[in-house]
């Protein structure tokens, strides 16, 4: 691959991006859902979409938001209205790669594995996929998602996807 040579990024940027993802997955794994929308810019898009729909150019998602407000609505539904058996999610990301860098904008990909543990059950894989994301650095120098698209290879979901990833 020559992508990085064509779009050089500094070690400083790379470290900042890694730290951003570490903080993002830490907040989610620890269940600090109310912090989740703050990882996004005001104008943003969030999607968990099946590979089948993504590759066919079909819009339907598993989880979707067009704005930070919709992320907040999702959090309120998870915490206040949805009915589901208790569970933990732990998200493992690897192979973080910056595929495009221009000014204060980075296109980033990473593989993601989500492991789910239900009460009294062994841990199991909920899904695996790849994130196709766009990050921006805002006026105060903080990184935010303008687009977070998690494309799931997983063909058959084990009943429910409750939490984001």
């Amino acid at each position: 691959m020559t992508v990085l040579q064509e779009n050089p990024i500094t070690a400083f940027d790379r470290e900042a991006i890694r730290a951003f993802y570490d903080a993002y997955f830490d907040a989610l794994d620890e269940g600090r859902l109310e912090e989740w929308p703050d990882f996004f810019a005001a104008e943003c898009r969030y999607r968990i979409i099946s590979r089948e729909n993504f590759e066919a150019g079909q819009g339907l998602c598993i989880m979707q938001a067009d704005s930070k407000g919709m992320l907040t609505d999702r959090v309120r539904a998870i915490l206040k209205t949805q009915v589901y058996a208790p569970r933990y999610y732990r998200r493992f990301y690897s192979g973080l790669r910056v595929v495009k860098a221009s000014g204060k904008e980075w296109d980033v990909r990473q593989n993601v594995l989500i492991v789910q543990t239900l009460i009294n059950k062994p841990s199991e894989i909920l899904g695996c996929g790849v994130g196709h994301d766009r990050l921006v650095s805002n006026e105060s120098g903080q990184l935010k998602f303008v687009d977070r698209t998690l494309i799931l290879d997983t063909e058959m979901i084990r009943n429910s996807v409750i939490y984001p990833a």
Binding site: G59, L60, Q64, M70, D73, K80, Q82, A85, N159
Partner: protein
Amino acid sequence: MNNIAKRWPGAGVTEIPYWVYTDKDVYESELDRIWYGDHWLYAGLEAEVPQVGSYRTTTLGERQVIVVRSAQDQISVLENRCRHRGVQICQARSGKLTGITCPYHQWSYALDGTLQGVPFRRGIKGKGGMSRDFSPTDHGLLRLKVEVVNGMIWASFSDRTPPFREYIGDRLWSSYERIVSGRRLRVVGYNRQFIPANWKLLIENIRDPYHGALLHVFLPTFGLFRPDQASEMRMDETGRHGSLMSLPARDPGAAGHGEDITRDIAVDASLQLADKRLIEAVKELKGDETLGSCCVFPSVILLQQINALQVRHIIPKGPDGCELVWTHFGFEEDDEAMRQRRVRHGNLFGPAGLVSVDDSEVLAMAQRGFKAAEEGGAAIVQMGTGGRETGNEGHMATESAIRGLYQYYREVMGL
């Protein structure tokens, strides 16, 4: 005769024995009498196989089929199993074919399933080959009975299944035709989930208006639904098909085609959505119903809620679970705004659905309850119309359509 050792408790349907959801023999008998019996099963949308040779594979009951446009005006539904050695021929989910060829010994079939070629049928240099009385015409792919009705493809393993229009009956036809009127459909996308609950629980769930505003806290919280809203639970004459219609909480009939109906939907909300576009809707179908469903027994729930239109296709996987495949669709002439609206409304449904997660989770909890119960346990189904009748009702405090379903079920299962 069936092989079921169990006896139904009493004469009525106000108690449903847990074993109908857990017993292996009951399940096997359901496959024979219901799924492979005189019933229409959902095989896909016409829009999914647009050109001659376009195909999709899908599962009807437990059997996999190839749904293929075999001629301009003909769709064939063929069992995906070579007649030679039983190999599942097509492995992809969809694609385009000129013929159907088994990879093992290259037996080849036409798009309508006719056996066309058997390599070395006459042997090699006069030696070997098939016996002279082998008849290719008797060895085509198993071909199901097919009907395409307003863009939906229906297939049946039985030749005795009556025409679809008669099968669904007059009362349910209006619920069906309201959603798929014949306008050309366009797929918005798919979602697939395995639900660890017996398949019948899914069709009971959509015929159960009692749970609507109680389980689905999201709906009354954000004002999408109230238990006192006018609604109608319809059944066909046999009780097997069911349809729930729900009218807006106010001003039915006030909005014209294409007009915003959000204010008719979201009333008395205790919480406001931060981004109302999640439920912003426009009128597009006949009538003012904000929710309209049509459950075509046994395989499908066709449903409209606000501007989300969907087919929920049930694939049974033993007594303890089923797969649910969601096909969301719109119409060919949808503009960009409508396409986005349908995707947004998709948030209410599927494996992460703001509303439907409640169902798939609670049905799994029911299945766990049945499995752990003592012999002789039964679910109580006594809400509405004195608790015993099965008529059509205009309110939510009823389970009459579940009783209607089990009247038919007992009949067809010989229980």
